[in-house]
Amino acid sequence: MIEQAPVLIVVIPLIFAFITPLIGWRRKELCYPWIILALTLSTFCSVIALLTVIDTGVIHYHLGGWLPPWGIEYVVDYLSAFVLVIVSFISLTVAVYSKKSVEQELPDKIPYFYTIFLLQITGFLGIVVTGDMFNLFVFLEIASLAGYALIAVGEEGAPMASFKYVIMGTIGASFYLLGVGYLYMATGSLNMADLASLLPDLYGSKVVLVAFTFLIVGVAIKMALFPLHGWLPDAYEKAPSSVSALLAPLMTKVAAYVMIRIMFTVFRPYFSIEVFPVTTILSWIAAAAILYGALMALAQTDLKRMFVYVLISEVGYLVLGVGLANKNGLTGTILHILNDAFMVVALFMIVGAIVYRCGTREISQFRNLHRKMPFTMAAFVIVGLSVVGIPPTCGFFSKWYLILGAVDASQWVLAGVLVLSSLLNAILFFRVIEYAYIEPRNGHDSGGESLVVAREEAPLSMLIPIISVTAGVVLFGLLSGRIISTVIQFAIPACF
């Protein structure tokens, strides 16, 4: 079974997705346990894959027994395994969380929702596990299509936001396809490892250069890298709570994974740094993204929209690490894939819980929220501190490596941008904490306890995922040394 683990990770959600409508047709309530089962199995396989990789090295799986480069190959190396475990675990968490929220927002579409949910996750997992460029396009489109559908069933204005996403996403995917096509024309191969060995002789060719550009721009659109982020704010804000919680952390991180693969595995690092200095360009774009996201977030009064702009800022962090292109920078990016996935999923789950209980997302309505939902708000405080970068939470450690990378590369402006963004994030989060925790008083100490607000905490199926993810945020901070020495250190290409 262990040899089949790479393909099982993708096949299980796929098959379960097809069976879900049938189950839902018979009995709606069975859908939820069914998908939990699917995702648990998938997570289990990812963990096995990660442990196998740590034990024995890279796993190669040949689909249908066809040898590469003629057949499609699934490759699980340190980086893929790492991202696989993150994606499957977060999907499982959001699936557990989604029960109450879906029942409230989409009561009559539950089986179909879960079907597309599973397909979406299949797409993500496939992107990470595949070793073939065209196969990646297929899974990218599976993920995107499912995403379009999931977003469109959201609140007022969601179909329009989803439509905009359709247009922009298709442009991105087509650019990616063009890039793959150009590479195929130049080398005759679609397999990533094969391309990596064939391309170095062709680095001078304009075809390869244009291919690289198309690939990076296409991925940047999917990743919502400023200034190609136009589809993200509306789409993730108007989507249903569970959908935002699923898509927001994963789509951007998986796209960042693709970017790292293209820039450092398919194309050798020295291509991305010297032959075509895309890393320099990316680092400046990333700095702009970080500042843009933070500043726009300051202007928002809706908590979910604020988180969306925080997400855009976080994408900037990921690309900045890639752009710095040294060991510490890349360590920071890969660690941030883990940290940010957990932080963003926590943020969106918390907003969903608040919407579920209070029906509003306006920050000004949050008075006394800490009495109504103490655990949720406590989780919010901890995750907020992580986004700001207060130790010992995980967010601090990704920032540590990113700033260290900037210092190593003598990029003082970028280091300054990182520091400044922490302060901007601090303003953002402490403002909300103030609203939720402080009850302003006039005059001096009024005695005793004031108004009694009924405790109406989020339901357990929402609360447990939130708390476990928050615990993860703190734990991963303390364990970052172990994580790096066991996994990430080997995920970085050897020449750094």
Partner: protein, 497 residues
């Protein structure tokens, strides 16, 4: 002289963390149980800390590594003499402040008491972590936790003024945190380590201008919490917090953490040799003497008692750094001892301010005429504290100022001796009128001339700290070998290990 591995530092930090969790789960349902957790934790913590003192006095270092955070840096506790000093000071004063807090909070029937005690316990955990940190990163981690845990205490009263004070506090301290982080990263990228070594570990790395830059941002960063001018503005505003908060945190824990950080940077990261080589010690000394003089002048102008005390704190903290900046044995000894002595004296003064507020709801000095008749014990304690801060024997302030004066002579910088003398005169100028007014003037409208002291839970702590201030002045080693710890630290730093 060796390294001992012991889990006690971690226990000392965790004990109040556990108490904090228990406090928040006990909540308002059982106030006495909740207060019991606070007191139990404080006594346990003090016991753990004291049990480690004998080892430190023999010249050992106690170490405990929790987990490696990044190659070259671990979350590690390493208690050296300076850390032990701070740890003993903070844990003992916490016991006293807990008792005082309970008295204060109950007399005023304050709101949000659970949150208050919860944050208090967290702050103490963080302070212990700072005191026992073995490297800059561990110190930074606990430093930031301290920032976050003190914020709710600053805005506790939840008035407009308190909320603004809270925001100001955050802006100052978080920005300072970022500056410190940047400095730490620069040090790490230069040397690959951030472990503290008595006598510094930065010699020989990096260019002189880079080292100067790092020193400046680290001192500025830690200087915000230590309320050096011009980053001091948050401290007077933070007097909007309840008095026990001002007393412990802003006279002992938070600001002392800032000074502690500065001292670590000066003595354990850079070290006397390197600072002499870079000519930075003189620059630092001039910078803080500016604070000393100007804060004294500000103090003279304040009518609000707590604000005057706040500026006096700024004054004394700057004196501590000035003494250490002399980089001579007496200077360092005096500076470290003043950290402790000032803690006791200032806390007495703040406790008095709180007692006056609880009894009479008065905050301004101009309203305090004749209050000595009503509260003689309280004002007596105030007198002891004031005398000590001015540097008059037999209170302990005299000893630390004496050694620091010797330090300036050893360093051949008579200018700073004059600064010390001028500040002493200013101390007399802004404390003695209060004493005179309270004892010798006729009371104004509503202060009764009859004996009507503050409640016992507040009166006893402040008398204890006042009496200890006198005892330390006569027998500097009386309190668990306070002075010896300071001397050991100075010896190690200058001897270089």
């Amino acid at each position: 002289m060796g390294v001992i591995v012991s889990i006690k530092p971690l226990l000392a930090v965790l004990v109040t963390l556990a108490a904090a969790v228990l406090i928040i789960f006990t909540g308002e349902r059982n106030r006495n149980l909740r207060e019991f957790w606070t007191l139990l934790a404080s006594i346990l913590k003090f016991a753990i800390v004291i049990s480690m003192v004998p080892l430190i006095l023999k010249g050992n270092v106690i170490e405990y590594t929790i987990i490696s955070l990044t190659p070259g840096i671990a979350l590690q506790f390493r208690i050296d003499s300076l850390g032990m000093f701070f740890g003993v000071l903070a844990s003992f004063l916490w016991i006293i402040t807990s008792v005082y807090s309970i008295g204060y909070v109950r007399s005023l029937d304050e709101h949000a008491q659970t949150r208050y005690f919860f944050n208090f316990a967290l702050c103490l955990s963080a302070t212990m972590g700072i005191a026992f940190a073995g490297n800059l990163l561990t110190l930074f981690i606990f430093y930031e936790i301290l920032t976050v845990a003190t914020w709710p205490l600053v805005y506790h009263k939840e008035t407009e003024e308190a909320i603004m004070a809270g925001r100001k506090y955050l802006v100052y301290t978080l920005t300072a945190g970022m500056a410190i982080l940047f400095g730490i990263i620069l040090i790490y990228s230069l040397t690959g380590t951030t472990d503290f070594r008595p006598g510094g570990f930065l010699s020989g790395y990096g260019s002189a201008s880079m080292l100067r830059f790092i020193f400046v941002i680290l001192i500025l960063g830690f200087g915000v919490k230590a309320a050096l001018m011009l980053m001091h503005e948050w401290l007077p505003s933070a007097m909007a917090a309840p008095t026990p908060v001002s007393a412990l945190l802003h006279a002992v824990a938070v600001v002392k953490a800032g000074v502690f950080g500065c001292l670590k940077v000066i003595l354990y990261v850079f070290g006397p040799e390197l600072l002499h080589g870079l000519s930075l010690w003189l620059l630092l000394a001039y910078f803080v003497s500016f604070t000393v003089i100007v804060s004294g002048m500000y103090a003279l102008a304040q009518d609000n008692l707590k604000r005057r005390l706040a500026f006096s704190t700024i004054n004394n903290l700057a004196i501590i750094i000035m003494g250490a900046a002399m980089l001579t044995p007496s200077g360092i000894k005096g500076a470290i001892f003043h950290m402790g002595g000032h803690g006791f004296m200032k806390i007495t003064l703040f406790f008095v301010a709180g007692a006056i507020y609880v009894k009479t709801h008065k905050e301004n000095i101009s309203e305090l005429d004749g209050i000595g008749r009503q509260m003689p014990l309280t004002m007596g304690a105030f007198a002891i504290g004031a005398i000590g801060i001015a540097g008059i024997p037999p209170v302990c302030g005299f000893i630390s100022k004496w050694y620091m004066a010797l330090g300036t002579l050893e360093a051949n910088e008579v200018f700073f001796l004059f600064v010390l003398l001028i500040s002493a005169m200013m101390d007399i100028a802004y404390f003695f009128p209060i004493l005179y007014n309270s004892f010798f003037k006729k009371p104004k409208e509503d202060i009764s001339p009859h004996f009507n002291e503050a409640p016992m839970m507040m009166l006893v702590p402040l008398m204890i700290t006042a009496i200890i201030s006198i005892i330390l002045g006569i027998f500097p080693n009386a309190f668990f070998n306070f002075f010896s710890i300071a001397s050991t630290a100075a010896g190690k730093i200058l001897g270089g290990i």
